[in-house]
């Protein structure tokens, strides 16, 4: 139980930190920020790698989780980068 309280503490602090960090974002960057945040949510890949493997069912679930999280990570970062490279000031 104590672990969960500590982890819950980390969770709450991170949310507050996130709210403070992003409170003022120019509207130009709304899409890149969203797409960049979307790429970060691919962190589920780390969770997928931690899964246990006993039996075909578990392997299939792990494979699926790794596959979809990887699409999210690679696609998210690449498209954010593509988008940001277009923003220019003359």
């Amino acid at each position: 139980m104590e672990t969960y309280i500590l982890l819950g503490f980390v969770l709450l602090l991170s949310i507050f930190l996130g709210l403070e960090l992003i409170a003022k974002v120019p509207s130009t960057l709304h899409t890149p920020l969203m797409s960049g945040a979307n790429a970060i949510s691919g962190i589920a890949l780390v969770g997928a790698l931690m899964l246990s493997s006993d039996g075909q069912m578990q392997d299939a679930l792990a494979f699926g989780a790794i596959l979809f999280a990887s699409i999210n990570v690679f696609g998210g970062y690449l498209v954010t980068n593509r988008m940001l490279s277009m923003f220019k000031k003359k």
Binding site: S14, I43, L45, V46, A48, V79, M83, K90
Partner: protein, 472 residues
Amino acid sequence: MESILNISESTISAIQNLVYIGSSVLFILGIKMLGKEATAVKGNYLSALAMFSAVAITCLNLDIDFKIIIAGVLLGGLIGSAIAIKVKMTAIPEMVALFNGFGGLATFLIAWSQFNAPENNMFQHALIMLTIYIGGITFSGSLVAYGKLSERLKLGKGSLITNVLISFFYLSLPALVYVIFEPTISVAISTAIPSVSSYFLFFLGLTLIAGLGFVTPIGGGDMPVVISLLNSLSGIAAAFAGLLLENNVLIVAGSLVGASGLILTVIMAKAMNRTIGNILFVGYASPTQSTGAVEQGEVKPINAADAYLILENASSVLIVPGYGMAVAQAQHVVREMGELLEENGTEVKYGIHPVAGRMPGHMNVLLAEANVSYDLLAEPDDVNPVMDSVDVAIVIGANDVVNPSATEEEGSPIYGMPIIEVHNAKTVFVLKRSMSSGFAGVQNPLFFKENTRMLFGDAKESIGLVVSEFKD
């Protein structure tokens, strides 16, 4: 668990946790830098570096067969990169929705796998159910958003299928409460209650259908809010998976995404002067017939040649794009017109409403793609006070965000929504395909104003004609 290197498991776990702390710091810096124009590119690299180190260090200690991991990462990487490289900039909203859904699906599968793992205590059991629910809703909800944005799915509010799906969404809420407390309930009643797997599979299916019911009734114009919210949910799902797996970096990264999505959701809702609850569960009120009828008047059409003559003599021009510009793919020809006007000595600005288009910042991305400098883009608060000094405001495929009913007509469904007040400019050009009303279904009195000229037709063609007039 077998380790690749020959060191004890506790040492590995210590190293992993240290690297996770480093990654978390990089994620925080990365997302902070993403919020400023000058540092955004670097911020994205930092966050990618954070992702890479977190993933790499996790591989020190694996239970799954390495072949499965290689196959999954390679295949996922290929698919993701292919989509990201090939996608057209006009298709970005639906692609962000799709990636978002895949992130949700990954957490859904993680929680499912944890359910099958032995030794779940009650707290873990509740977390598993919550993660499945949020991840599942994010996944199927994002698929609906993808379908709506790419215009493959045309299910409106009020159709029978939509109503059935909505009922499933409401049914899923008590079901969620039930499965969270299921262990206690089963023990209390008897041990002979339905076998565990059947109720669980039922819940998995219900969750996915509930996600469809959550997003299906929400209309296209409200998509900026929905996309931001789904983005936030995918982060929260990852953070819950982090609690479940007791992994700090998942919690930190997931929470950051959850927070940023939440902020965007609030910004979008404010820009529509509506609450999030109203957007998700109510939708626009149907417009009353009477208000529409009174405003009817005569519209004054104009052709490209006349438009050119007026523009040639204008000293300041404000361009207000909307979803119609995205549909017509007119951003390049708009930039060309803007440059010709500037060469002619006209001051050109772009007025960007936060909810113009189908996702937050949609217009900014399109204009950036067409090479419009971002310091020419202005927000409503910047352009409205100086609107009466603007000679010509050109509205390209925007409707509700320039509808004066929002400021003038108290009974209107969009009353109170902050708009770009183009009707205060000396002349307004409205580029439009037909006289149909906007997403909100509200008649737009702007079209009948004394100073408004309608330029009917495809936006790309119309502006192309003006541009060729300039070149002659």
